[in-house]
């Protein structure tokens, strides 16, 4: 399960609307709790895939390090990431799975249809290694 406050939930959806028709991306910070994750803040990131931003995203590791460092000062951990799918379902793609490596973290996807945020779904990266990993849908509790 992913627990997220209304303001953080709205913020990541709004981010997708602002970057439409390109994919947005960002980091979810918070804590691991009772087998799930609790979001306490989000951090917007740049999408370095300027060769194909309408259907690809990549976050510069240097940005991840900075966000991680700032999060640690607030006792927050990186617990997941979010991105958007412009005019495409809020469902992980084979590329999303192939490029997911943060086991135990949440990957949140928002479909943005004609510029408006539609569905937001979250998937936990489960498994023990690159051979058995899966993105498994999880409940999102907003509020």
């Amino acid at each position: 399960m992913l627990k997220i406050g209304q303001s953080q939930y709205d913020a990541l959806r709004r981010h997708g609307e602002e970057t439409y028709p390109y994919e947005c991306c960002g980091v979810l910070l918070g804590r691991f709790e009772d087998g799930g994750r609790v979001v306490t803040s989000t951090a917007r990131c740049g999408n370095t895939r300027d060769d194909s931003p309408q259907n690809r995203y990549h976050i510069d590791p240097q940005e991840v390090i900075r966000i991680q460092r700032e999060g640690r000062e607030r006792q927050e951990d990186i617990i997941g990431f979010y991105h958007s799918h412009p005019d495409h379902p809020a469902r992980w793609s084979p590329t999303d799975l192939a490029e997911a490596h943060w086991f135990g973290c949440s990957y949140v996807i928002t479909s943005v249809e004609k510029g408006k945020a539609a569905d937001t779904n979250s998937f936990e990266l489960t498994g023990s290694d690159e051979q058995d990993k899966q993105l498994v849908g999880e409940k999102v509790e907003v509020g």
């Binding site: 994919e23 991306c25 980091v27 691991f32 895939r49 194909s52 259907n55 690809r56 995203y57 990549h58 976050i59 590791p61 240097q62 991840v64 390090i65 900075r66 991680q68 640690r72 951990d77 990186i78 617990i79 990431f81 991105h83 799918h85 412009p86 495409h88 992980w92 793609s93 084979p94 590329t95 999303d96 799975l97 192939a98 490029e99 997911a100 490596h101 943060w102 086991f103 135990g104 973290c105 990957y107 990266l125 290694d129």
Partner: protein
């Protein structure tokens, strides 16, 4: 080579370099977010890390012993790919970060 034990929690890593472990790998590093390691190069400190925590090896390296392509290693804020890769020198004032890639997208 005899390895010194890691310093007590909160102790300054005198003579040792700090490696920050990302959340998905902490279960293989004794649940530690930071591990003190010895060595004068990135290659040395990573070797020390997997010697102390052998379960990390397969998550960082291929069977051929190469760093996995999605494993980014930074010395402070610099990617080792733009330095001297695993030959990059490190001191006890440096922080090494292991950062798995974050990417994806709707396109199949």
């Amino acid at each position: 080579m005899k390895l010194n034990p890691p310093p007590p929690r909160g102790h300054h890593f005198v003579g040792m370099t700090k490696i920050h472990i990302p959340s998905p790998l902490r279960q293989y590093a004794g649940q530690q977010a930071d591990v003190a390691v010895q060595g004068t190069t990135v290659g040395d400190v990573l070797s020390d890390l997997v010697a102390r925590h052998p379960d990390l090896r397969r998550h960082l390296y291929t069977e051929e012993g190469k760093l996995r392509a999605f494993v980014n290693i930074y010395v402070n804020d610099e990617d080792i790919r733009y330095l001297k890769r695993e030959a990059t020198a490190v001191t006890d004032s440096d922080t090494i970060s292991i950062v798995p890639s974050v990417a994806g997208g709707a396109l199949r």
